[in-house]
Structures are given as C-alpha cells and as structure tokens.
C-alpha cells in the first residue's frame, strides 16, 4: 500500500507554531520544530482533530477540488449520508440527489446503499457466529488505524469488511459500465465528511485501478448545492435507501442495523480510546458489537462538514418518520464473498515499541525514565513535544535537545550564576539542587548569599 497521500498537510505560512494541535493529537503525532507544527506521519491516524482545533487554519485536510469532476465525461456522485444533515428543513433526500445532477454530475449512487449492504453482511456473519466478540466495526478508518497501531491485541476483533463507501464506489462504476458507458469516460467521486476517508480511499486500489477517481469535501459541494436546490421544480425519485443506511452518518446508526441489542457506540477520540482500553482489560465481554467513530457524534462530526454535528444529527433524525426503516435494495447473495472483505489488514508501524529486542527496549526505557524524572512534569509544550514524557523520549531518540526545555534552561542559567561551592547556606545540599528548587518554586533565589544575580 503506497501511503503517499496524507490526511493533513501544513500551511506553514499560517502556522504560528502554537501548541494547540500538538496538545490535542490523540497519538502524539505532532511536534513543534523551528516554530512550525510538524506531523510525524508514522504516528498519524488521520482523525482530523488537528484540523478542527487549529486556530489559524494552518492544518489543511486533504481532498480534491470540485473541478476534477470535469476531467471525465460521465461523472458519478457518491454522497456520504452526512451530506443530508447539512441542510435546514430538508423534506426529502431526493432533493439533494437531484441537486447533484444539477451541479454537473450525470449519475448519483448513495453511500447509504452500500451501508445497508454492509449491515446485511454483518448480520449474516454474526448469525453464523463467524466473528470474534466483541466485534469492532471497521467503518471509521481512523479507528481502524489506531487499533492496528496501538491496540494490536484487539485487531482480530475488527470485522474485516470494507467500508460502505467502497461498496458504493465499486457498484456505481459497475452500473455505469453495464449501461454501456466506456470505462475511460467514467469518473466516480466520493463526497466525504472527513479527510480520513479521503486518505483511506486514495491509498486503496483495486486490481483495475483506483476505487475513487476523486474525493470531494461535503463543505465544497454544499456551497455548490445551496443556490440550485430552491430552483429545482420537479424532484425525480432517485434514492434507494431507507433510514438504516442514512443513520450510519451518526454515531450508533450502524448498530441499529445489526439486529442485536448488545451493542455499544462511542464517538470522539477520547471516548474511543477509553473503550479500547476497557476492551483490552476484557471488561466488555458482555457486548457483541462495538461501533467506534473518531469524530464527535459520528461521521456528521467530520471536519469536512459544514453544520454543527449535533444539529446535523438532529436533522437526520427528523427524516425518520418519512423514510422506510430499510429497503435493502441490494442482496448479499448477488456478490461473491470476497467483494465484502479487505484484501489485507492495514500496514501500520508499531509506535509504542522502543527497541528491536527486549534488552535494547529496556535500556532505552530506563534512559527515558531517568531523564523524565529530572523534567518539570508540567507538560507545558514549550519544548515542542506534547508532554514531558514525549520530550524525554524524543531526547533519547536524538530528535531534539535537552536545552529545548525552558525550565532546564532556566536552571542551567541560574546554576551558572551560583558560586558552585555547595556551601549549604541556602539550606540545600548542592548548588545544582538549589537551582532546581528555585526554578520549580520550592525556594527563592535570595536564599543564596553569594549568587552573582543577588549581588547586582
């Protein structure tokens, strides 16, 4: 898998080198170096937290510009159901689908349709008892990356089903080919709520080529749709999905499609991590199915949306009485088993492991511990690492220098101004200890009668 496209890139002109993104990153994948944020892509799971938190809009989520669709003669829109949550007073999802045809697309294929098919497949596999419980959903690519990176012991609980969008993209192309459109004319475009899905699809290939010809941001498509929607006179029937497919857009929506009450749905990175920790301890063994989404409220919380996730979720809920629960327009039996499954598990670096073997890892761990014990433990971030512990690790790995710690620096400066005679008049055993205690606020500099600073 060629991982050449990243979820986020940095706009270094806008980046002020503040520590907002670094402190928020759930896998400590950001450092501030030379006054700019730097993403350590080995550790990045593509959750989009840094894009959301950056006060200077310096974190750019990856997606293709809308105009890429015009490179193809036959353009198919594949919208995520989150798109429907962006509009106020939307009575009918068909209005939005008709709008997509107005803004330049020739055909529309709903991701929700793929979602209903994946739900059906999940039910089938669960009924067969073929999955290891608690079963973890594979729908959120950031969560799947996180599990393979830090919770490997749970990797065999992740159901190896492809994401609904992948199903929808393949079926969209297949339908156009069956209709006699030349393959080279067809462009299939996912309209995405988040950069993690962009990344997952850009790095995902079939034997015939890429699954998606482009991945567009809901936010960009939204502004194209806004002016055309009120002008649509006649709304054609296009949608083939029921509420269950569409509900996948919000946390807990996937669970409703599995026909089993023993489920758990958690959203937001912090909550996801807590659930994974508990699963590792074996304390969720009474749960059959676990749905984890990196964004608050689920996919409607993705950073490429326009609307507040809670509002979007409320809007999706308001469709409920207007739509059938599920239509299951597609049947699992019509597709080969391998159509539904990953061809391989994600290849992710083990970021926790400190060394190639036990002895070298232990040696490094001791060095880190020793250094860490001398640090202030205030996690101020001034050194460019998210925590004192991460800083200690970076220093031991040779990625940064100890002097980057402002407290250590202040301590060294103060120590240089002391007589270094360890006379003990300040009440401390050594001048070094005195300097340390002054910087950490346990004593005051005036206690040393000989300090050059005090004699000024």
């Amino acid at each position: 898998m060629g991982k050449n496209i990243h979820t986020v890139t940095l706009d270094s002109e806008n980046c002020r080198g503040c520590i907002a993104c670094m402190k928020r990153c759930p896998t400590e994948a950001i450092r501030v170096r030379n006054g700019k944020a730097k993403v350590l892509y080995d550790r990045c799971i593509g959750c989009g937290e840094c894009v959301r938190i950056c006060p200077h809009q310096a974190k750019l989520p990856a997606y293709d510009p809308f105009n890429v669709i015009f490179d193809y003669k036959y353009k198919i829109a594949v919208p995520a159901p989150s798109l429907f949550g962006q509009f106020n007073n939307l009575e009918d999802v068909d209005l939005v689908l008709n709008g997509l045809l107005e803004i330049g697309f020739d055909d529309v294929y709903e991701v929700a349709l793929g979602a209903e098919l994946i739900s059906a497949k999940t039910r089938e596999l669960m009924a067969l008892g073929a999955l290891k419980k608690p079963i973890i959903s594979s729908a959120c690519p950031a969560v799947v990356e996180l599990i393979h990176m830090r919770y490997k012991g749970l990797a065999d609980h992740v159901v190896d089903l492809v994401a609904p969008v992948e199903v929808a993209l393949r079926l969209a192309r297949e339908r156009a080919i069956k209709a006699g459109i030349p393959a080279e004319d067809i462009g299939v475009f996912f309209i995405s709520p988040c950069p993690a899905k962009v990344y997952a699809l850009k790095n995902s290939m079939t034997t015939d080529g890429p699954i998606a010809d482009g991945v567009l941001a809901i936010s960009e498509v939204y502004f194209k749709l806004l002016p055309v929607l009120p002008k649509i006179k006649e709304v054609k029937k296009i949608s083939q999905t029921g509420m269950l497919g569409i509900r996948w857009a919000a946390s807990g929506g996937e669970c409703l499609g599995i026909d089993n009450d023993k489920y758990l749905a958690a959203d937001g990175m912090e909550n996801v991590i807590n659930v994974l920790q508990e699963m590792e301890n074996g304390s969720l063994s009474y749960i059959d199915f676990v749905e984890l989404t990196a964004c608050t409220s689920g996919c409607v919380g993705g950073v490429l949306n326009v609307e507040n996730p809670f509002a979007a979720r409320a809007r999706l809920r308001s469709f409920r009485h207007k739509l059938e629960p599920m239509r299951n327009a597609l049947k699992c039996d019509d597709y080969e088993e391998k159509f539904f499954h990953w061809d391989h598990a994600p290849e992710v670096k083990d970021i926790d492991k400190l060394g190639e073997d036990f002895a070298s890892a232990l040696k490094k761990m001791r060095e880190i511990e020793e250094l860490y014990s001398t640090l202030p433990h205030i996690d101020c971030g001034q050194c460019g690492a998210p925590s004192c512990r991460a800083f200690a690790e970076d220093v031991v790995n040779g990625d940064t220098k100890l002097e980057m710690c402002t407290r250590i620096q202040a301590m060294d400066e103060l120590f240089a101004s002391l007589p270094q005679t360890n006379c003990g008049k300040c009440g401390q055993r050594t001048c070094r200890q005195f300097a340390r205690n002054v910087v950490f606020g346990d004593t005051v500099a005036e206690k040393c009668p000989y300090s050059k600073k005090n004699q000024k």
């Binding site: 830090r150 490997k152 012991g153 990797a155 920790q277 590792e280 301890n281 074996g282 304390s283 083990d350 926790d352 492991k353 400190l354 060394g355 190639e356 073997d357 036990f358 002895a359 890892a361 232990l362 040696k363 761990m365 001791r366």
Partner: protein, 141 residues
Amino acid sequence: MSEALRLEFNVAGNNFISAGSASDEVKKTLKMLGIGAQFIRKVAIAMYEGEINMVIHAGGGRAIVDIFPEKIKIVLQDEGPGIPDIELAMKEGYSTATDNIRDLGFGAGMGLPNMKKYTDEFLIESEVGVGTTVTMVVNFI
C-alpha cells in the same frame, strides 16, 4: 544493568476512578518493550481483575510487577479481610460483592477464575484478618 524491570504500585481502595491505572501502566510498559499483543492481552485481563479485586474487597493494596524477557510476574498483596474458603472463591459466579458494587458492573464472580484462566502460573494465599497475596506468571513464549 539487569535484564528485568520492576514496577511497583499502590492501589487505592474504593476508588473506582483510579482503578485500573496500574494495569494500564503495565500494559503500556509491555507495549514499549515490544512484548507480543497476545501476551499483553492475557496480562491486561488478569492484572485488571486482580487490581479491581483489591479495590473492591481489600481497601486497596500493593502491586509488584517484575518483567523479564521471557515472562512477567505479578504479585498483588493486600491487608484486607482475607478469603475464608479459597476453593469456593475460585468457583465461577461466586461473589461476595455488595449490590452497590454490582450496580457498578463489577462483582460477577468471574474475577479469580479469569485470573487463573489467563495466566500460566497462579497462586493465591490468604489468611482471614491478615490479607491475601496473589502471585501470577504469564510466559511470553
């Protein structure tokens, strides 16, 4: 420098907020040492159960963990009420937890049996009025 690492923890009693922090720390350490995920899983389950037991039944205690290249040894010591009938306590489903604690989702009577199930060596010594010591070993090979 020896080829082993010792970690020691004080486990606070009746504190469900910090409960599990010792096993989380051990888990994290094993990941850093590159121990296989399948072994970490066993250690996590056994140690978490043991830690929770000390929180619920014994008003806390101490955990002493020695990590070697080929195995981990976990000793959980408490000065709690002790277990009058160890054989009975080892039965699946047997529990002396109060309703209050069961409401929190603990006390299903699977603690000790699970600890035994997930470890390669399991020894429990207890004296009423003195305390309980559980010694567990998980091999990494």
